[in-house]
Symmetry: C2
Subunit: 222 residues, 2 copies
Amino acid sequence: MNLEVGGSKQEGRSGKNGKRRRFSDEQIKSLEIMFGSESKPEPRTKQQLASDLGLHPRQVAIWFQNRRARLKSKQIEREYNILKASFDTLASKYECLKKENQALAAQVQKLRDQLGKDEGSTAGSALPSKQSWRDEEPETDGYLHESKGKPTYILESYDYETDNKTLVDTSIANPDWLKDEDDIQNLAEPVGSSLTSSENSWDSSCFLDQTGSSSLLWEFWS
Amino acid sequence: MNLEVGGSKQEGRSGKNGKRRRFSDEQIKSLEIMFGSESKPEPRTKQQLASDLGLHPRQVAIWFQNRRARLKSKQIEREYNILKASFDTLASKYECLKKENQALAAQVQKLRDQLGKDEGSTAGSALPSKQSWRDEEPETDGYLHESKGKPTYILESYDYETDNKTLVDTSIANPDWLKDEDDIQNLAEPVGSSLTSSENSWDSSCFLDQTGSSSLLWEFWS
DNA sequence: TTCTAATTTAATCGG
DNA sequence: CCGATTAAATTAGT
């Protein structure tokens, strides 16, 4: 009842048989095929497959577990990349909006000048007329800073968990948290993680073409 | 020259000595201490430590490698969280800016009305007077949409992670890419990765409450 | 109790 | 050496 296995039990590509660990290509292929149709096969099926491949049932069970775990890690990687892309996109939009805002503020200023310098009226329409509409960004005392009881923002001496002693890391930057004088650029943008792998640089072109968008990063999905 | 090891060679917590692989607590502790002061010790030092702990030099070398790798992965995890926090923050700011924008647009409209209906002048100041300043968002044909040939955006039926076949992945949502009618909320925000672990909830409080906005899609973050 | 999912660990391979 | 994988062992959760 051999299913694809040519040899008897273990037959690594190399003649060395001191103590081979990796499964043979045929075994892997069979496992992979099975995984393709059923990522979580019944115990019976696994046992069957095990005997077909000349492996211990436990080995097969563990293999499936690891396989599932691997699949999940890939998804996490994707999540990161997607989040990053979203961030860049949003940052781009943010810049655009900001420009618009400035332009609008200038417009308001101009119109006001034209209109003379009287009445402050107009109060009951769109905004409570807080204060200076001359410069954009109405200060906004602090809108988020920390969401609930979650610092989230960083910090300087965050650390340890898996660490101990002297060598921490002190990396990643991200200085003043949108307190003010924000230019996004100084926001997060993690350094050079292996997850990122994007060339970054989402040069903020608002409504101008943007040919060289970053996207040379997909060596994962063969 | 034993350094902390009580027993002779391998001494798992249990008396069982069938074929233990994990290092003993004492060994780990010594390795950990050493790692604390020197994450990448000299070959000589490692050899020394190896003989002290009754391990093969290679084992010690490998242990340090794994340890360094672990440390790095933690850093990546942190980067992810930081990026996420930045994203949320930026999203919050974006919402605020948008509101400001609308308010400003209303202001402009109001001032224009007050000013009568004459001259369109003012063209050469702040903006090229593209077009309608009535509604925010100057259309912006499409600045990013998709980076190159990568859709990245997905769809609705998310689930099963550990699954395959039929439903490939198509996950993580993120529908129309800031084409327009963007409310961030629909941007990325990956589902429930193990990396996240932050309580999240960046309730967008600009300077006004904003009850009843479509923000009931946050069941992901446990 | 078993079963499984999830995490961790020592080790291997290729570069 | 590093990075990525891998089989296996261990722990947690139901």
